[in-house]
């Protein structure tokens, strides 16, 4: 075959290849690359920003049932309820108060009800020096032992805050001690962690064969 004929064959072949390639592009143009994995939407419980507990003050403000705080509905006035201990010197929580978990202070050191409750008037609390404190003024009570925390809390450095940092535009919404801490067991309970991150092509920190997307 002469060079000239070979060239002509090649030109013809190229035309066919080009047209075929064009056809392939058209047919293939709608193919979407694989969209990867499904990531479920995060559970709304992890978005919740309400306080974990409600205090006496919250109930009063919301005009709700305060029967839990009506101590003299059951107890007798002027007759402080006695505290009983078991053989291990652990306090026996009466069954009427079975919701109370005693866990304040390490080694159960703070296990006397009357360290905080006022035995003379169950409707109030009392500081160790005898000052009476209302249920709506818990920080005064807690701060009598946890001084540095009270100081931090007053400055806004301890505890949860929401609302406005700029007080000329709106009020900051401060939570009080019992909004987060259970006074009977103040350690913040552990909780479930929200879902971990998903990296673009595989789990973060692991190697996953990359899905090719032609």
């Amino acid at each position: 075959m002469s060079n000239n004929t070979v060239t002509q064959y090649w030109l013809g072949a190229l035309t066919v290849v080009f047209l075929g390639l064009g056809g392939f592009f058209i047919v293939n143009s709608a193919a979407r690359p694989a969209t990867g994995k499904k990531i479920p939407l995060v559970d709304v419980k992890f978005l919740d920003r309400t306080a974990s507990r409600r205090t006496y003050a919250d109930l009063v403000k919301a005009n709700e049932d305060l029967s839990d705080y009506d101590c003299y509905g059951c107890h007798e006035k002027g007759k402080p309820p006695p505290i009983r201990y078991d053989a291990n010197h652990k306090i026996i929580v009466p069954k009427e108060h079975s919701d109370v978990v005693m866990g304040h202070g390490s080694h159960d050191r703070n296990n006397l009800c009357y360290n905080c409750h006022n035995e003379q008037n169950l409707l109030t609390l009392q500081v160790r020096d005898g000052r009476e404190v209302g249920f709506d003024n818990i920080p005064q009570l807690c701060g009598s032992c946890h001084g540095p925390n009270l100081r931090d809390w007053e400055a806004g450095a301890h505890g949860r805050t929401s609302g406005y940092w700029n007080h000329s535009l709106g009020a900051a919404d401060r939570l009080s001690c019992a909004n987060c801490h259970n006074p009977h067991a103040p350690r913040i309970p552990t909780r479930e962690s929200a879902p971990p991150p998903h990296s673009l092509h595989g789990p973060a920190g692991h190697t996953a064969p990359h899905e090719t997307t032609p």
């Binding site: 090649w10 190229l14 690359p33 673009l200 092509h201 990359h210 997307t213």
Partner: protein, 427 residues
Amino acid sequence: MITAARNYMIFIRRCTRIAFVGDWRYYAWMGLLTVISLLGLNAYAKQLVHGLIVTGMSDEVSWGVYIANFTFLVGVAAAAVMMVIPVYIYDNEELHDLVIFGELLAVAAIIMCLAFVTVDLGRPDRFWHLIPGIGQLNFPRSMLSWDVIVLNGYLLLNVHICGYLLYCRYQNRKPGKWFYIPFVFTAIIWAVSIHTVTAFLYVGLGGRPFWNASIVGPRFLASAFTAGPAIIILALQIIRHFTNYRITDKALLTLRSIVQVSMIINVFLLVCEVFKEFYSGTTHGVSARYLFVGLHGYHALVPWIWTAITLNLVAMVILVLPVSRSLRWLDVACVLSIVGIWIEKGMGLVIPGFIPTPLGAIVEYVPSLNETLVCLGIWAFGLLCYTIFLRMSVPILQGRIAKSNEGQPEIQGDEPAATPLPDPLPH
């Protein structure tokens, strides 16, 4: 004025025409490159629609083979100067007529560089934000803005030098010294600057200790001056094989000594770097550890870097031995150094900078098929450009396309080539 413009248009028309004319090998080669380029273009169209998610990149490894190839090709472009220096500074006669092929290679390489940067952009439609005046070029603070300027400047310089010299040859008149010599010297300095600036792109990032090392700049230059002339050696031999353009062995051997010295420096700098990273044992060496020996069970790059080091060492040994005075061995050494440096600059420099992330996570990177097609497409397009440049320039330099033969029958492609030029130097 009008005549000059008309003459220039005829020149352009004849050059364009010759690009589409050749024998069957030419058509087969160009056809292949066109097909690969189009596959790449198609892959890029998909990337434009769906976003960079079709690549293997992620927030953890946010630059991949696009930037790796870009970095390598900046080196190739810069290395064109290695032929210019002997010619214009030391008056090396052998290389004189070959300089233009080096500069054309620089043009093709810069075109590829710009293409690689463009495909890496998330919003290429906003490229105009880079244009001073209508956009906001953050010059001189951002090293990327320096890179934009030096790359485009280098492209313009080389296009001007090549275009001017070729047009003069076409008209068979002596080039006016003031029209190109100042540009040639500017280009020499500029070539060093494009590579230094590209190195500084990485070196300037304090948050990435693997890159934040002053040796990166010198290593860039050493490896560029190895890979660039190596590519030119191969290109010249291909030109010599397919055309009867006179290229002497002596010219190739001059380039060999450049590759030889650069490769030795390159390997020496590698040793310096490896020593620093491993002997001191600081936590800043984690990326290097990931690259060379793997980290916490992740070692995707380990085979790559050891391949690169092996290739470079073998190439260096061949280059140092007298055996590489034989062109066959020289070719082997050139291929080995090109591949070795490509790996070392790409997978070996860009990717490990991202692993682990500044927060210590290890996410590995593997280029996707779509990304690979885009890369192949750009390489094919670059080769297509270079082939066209050679197809135009060789007949012009040989005087087969000249003002004097305007209007006479044009080259058809299959006709026997003109008689080879006499070779004044016996070898």
